[in-house]
Every structure is written in structure tokens, then in C-alpha cells.
Amino acid sequence: MSTLASFQNQVKPNWCPGCGDYAVQMALQQAAVKLNLEPHQLALVSGIGCSGRIGGYLYAYGMHTTHGRALPFAQGVKLANPELTVIACGGDGDGFAIGTAHTIHAMRRNVNITYILMDNHVYGLTKGQTSPRSDVGFKTKTTPTGNIETPIAALELALASGATFVAQGFSAQLPQLVDLIVAAVRHEGFSFVNVFSPCVTFNHTNTYEWFREHLSDVKDIAGYDPHDKGAAARHIMEKEGMLTGLLYENDRASYEQASGLAGFNTIKNVEKMPQANFNKLLEGFK
């Protein structure tokens, strides 16, 4: 039986004190325990940026990949070894700038992995530039007179891309975040959890206080049905994306189910093709 300590590796993160990413790290560790995982059963794949470092901050198989490419890597891992629990993590630069295409296509494809996007509306590791999630008017080193580009609507984009599990959490609401991650991992197919993870150093606009003020929980919406896509879209738009909780889920077949891999997957059993199969393929050239 694993405990919280099983997933701690005593490495001191290079995050600033107060960074929202600590809560994501804690939530992942708690969720892993709740899911009865052993550390070796978890593959944590991350991108680049402050968030990307999380791959090395849990005691599990961690792979810190290139900027924006955690999702393609993670899908490859999962398809090759479906027994692993595969969680991809990244920031808003990873998922909504350099890697936007992968985000959209991972949602369409629906491989059974979980994607946790640590969303702080700013580029932290490069010391404070605008992000595709920055609000209009947000001043940074690269937008000294204020951001003039419309932020990407993360949740609407997920719905439009065919995501089968869309949730949103907040670093200051740890129990909810843990539950969302557990549900996301249990979801059969691609699960997307956007987490507001404030940057205390380079974003003095979207602070913990700001999020607390603006966010509301879907549980407080009477009759909210996460299986009703139209209603989910309407609520998300009305609240301009400032909702937490499980926003949408459906049971569309995962890539593995639809492709047949769920029934017959020998990808990681590497051996020379049996002679009979080889001979059969040669017949095709006659």
C-alpha cells in the first residue's frame, strides 16, 4: 500500500514560495494514493516552464520533455503500455501556445491519459512575458502597454475539440482538485483538468485573491448536469470560464477502444515477427 510518502522524493522544487504549483504537486500525490497506485505504475510526463519541472518532483517515472510536447509523448507512452497510469502536466504556454495543436488533437483522439494544465496566465520561467491566457490589458515585459490579444478560452476550446472530460480546479482548493484528478484518471479516455495555479512573482493581477473573488463552483448551480454539453457551454460562457468542478463528461469510445488496441495490444512485447506471419506478408507481394 502506498502512502503520501511513497510519492515524495525529497527534491526541493525550484518554484517560488507561494507558487500555485506546490498545490498541484500535493494534489497529484494525494490522488495517486487515493487511486491505490504504486510509484512505478505512474508515468508523469511534463513540458517546459515552471510547471514542467513537476515531472521531477514526484517519486514516479518522470519524463520532462520539450516545450509543448508533453501530450504527444504521453500518448505514445500510454499506447505502448496501457497498464501505466499516464498523466501529462504543463503550463498555459505549453498547452495553449507552442503546443495548442497537440492539445486540440489529443482531445479529438481521446487516448486514455490525463492532462493537467497549470494555468497562471503568464510566462514565469522566462521571467514575465505574456501568455495566450493573459487578460486583455495585462502588462508584461513583452506587452508593456498591455496585452492586446484575446486570451484563449480554454474550456470552450476543450468542448469544441471533442474533449470527453473537462474539469477546472484551483490551487487554493486542494480537496476539490484531488477529487477532480482522481475522477480524471478514472475516466476512460482523454481527461483535461485546467488548474488555476497563481504565479506570485510575475502576475500581480490574477492573484489568489482575484481567483477567489471570481471563481464559483458548478455545485452551486442548481441542476447542473455535466453530461449536457450545451448547458455546460452556456454556463462556461456566462461565467467567462470562471467555474470550478467537473464541467463536462461523456463516454465516447477512447482511441484504444475505437482502434481495437483495447482488445489486442502487444506493442511493448518486442519480438521478431513469427515466421508464419512473415511468410503471409510475403504472399502479399506475389
Binding site: Q10, G56, G62, H64, V77
Partner: protein, 581 residues
């Protein structure tokens, strides 16, 4: 037995079934035991635009196109402009009468009306199969011998479709019999001794078959000419082996996903051409840095940028070795025949796992899309080697202890590889410089040591790679050494043979291991040659430069370069070699 051969070509508009015509005919010839080489020329449009399919039919192995042509079937007027000059004096031209206006062919000509010929009761006969019937008549091939292949191509489309095609075949044949009786069997087919059916295989199919045979069951790729047939083969046959071919959103994803799958224990690969290779450069660096096995097939075409998407070139050599930023040590191999495309792809997966690094298999358009008869492939000699892979039995470790994935003390600088999911094997991986367990590290000594580890480990490939050179080099001292890579092997062989017949001592090598470079294997040929030519399809003499970079002091190299999109033909290459001599 005397070497005999014939060359057949059909030209027409894209979308007219030229490819089916060529493929059915060639497959039929293979089943009859002939050696054939088929090459299609096309532009990157689907309908319209002149295209052609050329077949060389022989009683000895052939692996390149003939520059001349004995029988030419014109299915569009462009063929008369573009392809007719290839006809030999004894050749035959089949054309529509309408296209001959004001022209007087110098060769024997079958003039017909395609429109009239394709008219039949209640249906229109397909022009391409009419052409097949005409071909059969002129070459004296019994149409009954073509029917099984026609059945294979059209049988599944229903009895009616099959009947129309059968009728077209007979109509074409009868047309010659009734109107050009003296041209029935106008050509003598090459004489065969003890004919055995042969396999008819595309270079790209040989690559995919090599991958599948080696246990590679994961391919992620993005379609691009001239590599897409690899995806198409994998998507057809990987599922039966429990695998998958996944078409990604772009080449970055394709390459990264393959690395992810390989990290998890698969034999995984992607295939692309120049533009895709450029996009994959960063991901290839991730495989290098994390010491993850990866196989990338690059079927070269004309560059830079979109370049000549459907034309032949060999200009990705430097990119294949160097396009990733930083100090990287990939293995780059280059098959020089369809058979080697099979064997080398199989071996690429062994190398990737043994050396835990990216392996690039450098093919080219001629090799990828050239389709030829293959006598056999030796399944028995192939062995899967997975290198230092730990599967289980590791001593117990607990957080915060890690498995030393990047152990600096490892023999040959190749450390033990452990797959995620393995108990007691937990380790980290990162594209950052790292310490022995994979934690990011900027420690100077660690940086130097890890960098040296990665660069050092691949050096021994030059000693272990079975055939770093294809060698057709019978002379201890040569008057001329011809060096090539990939698809130029066959044409160079023919040139060498002809020069030897004139009494010249000509040695020929194709470089199959491009990185790390097989200096020792090549050097003695260089030192023992009076003249050296390097034949390649690019403008900047990339192969010659690579040789000079690696072989100091290097004797004088004469470059023979062609980069107009077309392949080398025997006569032109012969003339250029003679200039050097």
C-alpha cells in the same frame, strides 16, 4: 545465359490509371519469373498533369530505370513530346491517330483511336487495361497469364467491374491481332532459365516490412511524399500484430509520440521526408538527451523548403546528421537497395535499442518509390537485439532512491535502460542536462561527463555495423573508385560494369553507415585509387564533404552532381566518369 532486357513505358494524364496499369503488368511479369524494375514519374497533383510508368523487364536483377525505351504507349498527347524521344530505332509507339497530326514518327507506330477502342456495349472500356491488352499482343504474352493479376486488382470490386476489365484486356489484344498482325509478338521477351515467381516490392514497403519483422508495432507519422506508403503498409498490417499506425497532427507530434512509445518499451518509429525531418529536429534531440531509442525513416526528396516534393534528391545528408541543435551523436544509415531497405530497417531498431539513441534511416525517392522484383528475403538470419534492457529482478529501492539510468560507470558508456512500470526501477528523464538518475543538473563536471557519455557510446558502431559499405570492389588498386549512397547503387553498378569491360579497374562502394563515419573501411579504397568520383544528387556535394571531414588527409575527390529532380541515367553517368578519367 545472355543478359537480355526490354523497356516498356506508358504515359498519360494523372488519374487515368497509369499506376494500376504498370503495377498489374509488373506483378504479372514477376509471377512469370522475370526481373522487373518499375518507376513512376508524377507531379504533386492528383488529376491531370502528365505522368508515366516505366518498366524494365529482364532476365537478370535490375534496380534502376533504362534510359531508352522499346515500347511506348501514349495515352495522352504529352507522351509524344515528353517520352517519345526515349524510343529506340527498333521501338514501337502506340498512340492516338489524332495526336500524330503533322508528325511523322521515325519508329514503327500503332495508330488508333482510344475513344473508338473504348466503346463497348453499354459500357466504356478503361484505357489503361486496353493498353495492357495491346502490350500483351506486342510482347507476345498470353492474356490468360495476365488475368489472375487483373482478378487480384479488380475482383473485389464485383463481377461487373471485373468483366469490363477482362473485356478491355481482350479488346486491346484483338485490336493488334486484327489490325497490326505483323506486330503480334514484335518483341522477343528475355529468355528465362528455370523461372521462379518473384516478389514485387516498393522500397517503402520493404522498410515497413523490415520494421514489422523486427517487432516494431508502433508507428506515428504525418503523410508526406515520398514516405506515405510506409504508413499505409503499417496501417494495413500492424493491427494483426497487436500494433498501431497513428496519423498525428504534425511531424513534431509524430516523432515525439514515437519517442514516448519507445520510452515505454515499444519498438517505435516514424517516417518522413525533408520538411518533416526539419520539424522533427528538436524531438530527435530529446531522444538523444534522454537516451531513448528512436528510428526515423527519411525518404529524401528535393529541398530546401517544400522544394521538389515529388522529385528525387539526396540533399538531407547533412541535416540527417546535424540538424538537431547541440552536440548530438545519432546513428545514420543508408540502404542502397530494396533488400537493404528491409534489412537495414530491421537493424535500425537493434541499433536504436543497443545504443539507446536516435537512428536515422536515409532513403531517397528513387529507392522509396522504385518498385522491383525481389528474389527472396532471408528471415532466418535476422535477430532481435535489445541491448541493456532491464526487465525485472532489480534490488528493492524506496523513495528517495533512484535507479541510475544514466550511470557514468557503465561499460561502453551505455547504461542500463529500465522501462516505466518496472518495480524498483524508478528513474527520471529530462531534456535538460542531468545527473546519473536523471535529475536536472548544471554541475560542470556532470555536464562534461554526461555529454561525453552520449557522444562516446556510439563510436563503436563503426566496428559492429555489419556492412558499413556496400562493396563491389574486386581490385586491390583501382583506376577509378566510384562512391555513392542510397538509390544510386544500381546505375553506378552498370557504369562500373561497362568500364570494366573496357579494361579499366573500377571499384564501387556505396556508403551505408554515414554516422559515425566508417573511416577505416573506406580509407584503404581511397588510398588505392588513381581517381575518385563521388556521385550524389545534391548541389553542394554533401557526401564528398562528409568524406573530407572524416578522412584526413583525403585524396582528391571529383564530384558528379545532379539536382534537377531526375535520377542518373547510365549513359550520362558513364560520360561524366570518362571525363574524370
Amino acid at each position: 545465359m545472355k543478359k537480355q532486357e526490354l523497356s516498356w513505358k506508358a504515359g498519360g494524364q494523372q488519374g487515368e490509371g497509369l499506376e494500376s496499369l504498370g503495377e498489374i503488368f509488373a506483378a504479372a511479369l514477376c509471377s512469370l519469373g522475370y526481373d522487373v524494375y518499375g518507376y513512376r514519374q508524377f507531379s504533386s497533383r492528383i488529376k491531370g498533369g502528365h505522368t508515366s510508368y516505366k518498366l524494365r523487364i529482364a532476365n537478370h536483377p535490375v534496380a534502376t530505370i533504362a534510359s531508352s525505351c522499346n515500347l511506348l504507349i501514349a495515352m495522352d498527347p504529352d507522351t509524344l513530346e515528353v517520352d517519345a524521344p526515349e524510343l529506340t530505332a527498333e521501338g514501337i509507339l502506340v498512340t492516338d491517330t489524332a495526336w500524330l497530326e503533322g508528325k511523322k514518327p521515325k519508329v514503327r507506330t500503332v495508330a488508333l483511336s482510344w475513344n473508338e477502342l473504348s466503346k463497348a456495349d453499354g459500357t466504356t472500356l478503361p484505357k489503361n487495361i486496353l493498353a495492357l491488352g495491346i502490350t500483351a499482343a506486342l510482347l507476345g504474352i498470353d492474356t490468360a497469364k495476365l488475368l489472375p493479376l487483373l482478378e487480384k486488382q479488380y475482383g473485389r470490386k464485383g463481377a461487373e467491374v471485373m468483366e469490363t476489365n477482362r473485356l478491355a484486356l481482350e479488346t486491346g489484344y484483338e485490336y493488334i491481332k486484327n489490325n497490326y498482325h505483323d506486330l503480334l509478338a514484335a518483341f522477343t521477351m528475355p529468355e528465362l532459365e528455370n523461372p521462379q515467381p518473384k516478389l514485387f516490392m516498393l522500397g517503402n514497403e520493404a522498410v515497413a516490412l523490415g520494421a514489422l519483422t523486427s517487432g516494431a508495432k508502433f508507428m506515428s507519422a504525418y503523410p508526406i511524399t515520398p514516405s506515405s506508403e510506409i504508413m499505409e503498409y503499417m496501417v494495413k498490417y500492424a493491427p494483426a500484430e497487436g500494433g498501431v499506425m497513428l496519423q498525428t497532427e504534425d511531424e513534431i507530434s509524430a516523432c515525439t509520440m514515437a519517442i514516448g512509445a519507445a520510452y515505454a518499451g515499444a519498438r517505435a518509429f516514424t517516417a518522413t521526408a525533408g520538411p518533416g525531418l526539419s520539424l522533427m529536429a528538436e524531438a530527435i534531440g530529446l531522444a538523444e538527451m534522454t537516451e531513448t531509442p528512436l528510428v526515423v525513416i527519411d525518404t529524401q526528396r528535393g529541398g530546401p523548403s517544400t522544394g521538389l516534393p515529388t522529385k528525387h534528391e539526396q540533399s538531407d545528408l547533412m541535416a540527417a546528421i546535424y540538424n538537431t541543435h547541440g552536440d548530438t551523436a545519432k546513428i545514420v544509415i543508408s540502404p542502397s537497395s530494396i533488400e537493404e531497405s528491409f534489412y537495414d530497417t530491421f537493424e535500425a531498431f537493434n541499433l536504436a535499442e543497443e545504443y539507446q539513441c536516435p537512428v536515422i534511416v536515409l532513403s531517397d525517392l528513387q529507392l522509396s518509390l522504385g518498385k522491383q522484383s525481389v528474389t527472396s528475403l532471408d528471415y532466418g538470419k535476422l535477430q532481435v537485439r535489445r541491448g541493456k534492457l532491464v526487465k525485472d529482478g532489480l534490488p528493492e529501492i524506496k523513495s528517495p532512491e533512484y535507479f541510475k539510468r544514466y550511470d557514468l560507470e557503465a561499460e561502453g558508456s551505455i547504461s542500463m535502460r529500465v522501462l516505466p512500470g518496472t518495480p524498483n526501477g524508478i528513474s527520471l528523464g529530462t531534456g535538460l542536462e542531468h545527473d546519473e538518475v536523471g535529475r536536472p543538473s548544471e554541475n560542470r563536471a556532470m555536464r562534461t561527463a554526461q555529454s561525453d557519455k552520449r557522444l562516446r557510446k556510439v563510436r563503436s558502431v563503426v566496428d559492429t555495423f555489419e556492412s558499413p559499405l556496400y562493396e563491389d570492389a574486386p581490385y586491390p588498386q583501382s583506376d577509378l573508385l566510384i562512391i555513392g549512397m542510397a538509390g544510386t547503387r544500381a546505375v553506378i553498378s552498370e557504369v562500373a560494369e561497362e568500364l570494366r569491360e573496357k579494361g579499366l579497374r573500377v571499384n564501387h562502394v556505396q556508403i551505408r553507415l554515414l554516422s559515425p563515419f566508417p573511416v577505416c573501411a573506406l580509407n584503404h579504397y581511397l588510398q588505392e585509387a588513381k581517381k575518385i568520383v563521388v556521385v550524389e544528387h545534391n548541389a553542394t556535394a554533401q557526401l564528398a564533404r562528409l568524406i573530407k571531414m572524416n578522412v584526413p588527409p583525403c585524396p582528391e575527390l571529383h564530384s558528379i552532381l545532379k539536382y534537377n529532380g531526375d535520377i542518373f541515367y547510365k549513359e550520362e553517368l558513364l560520360a561524366k566518369c570518362k571525363e574524370v578519367l
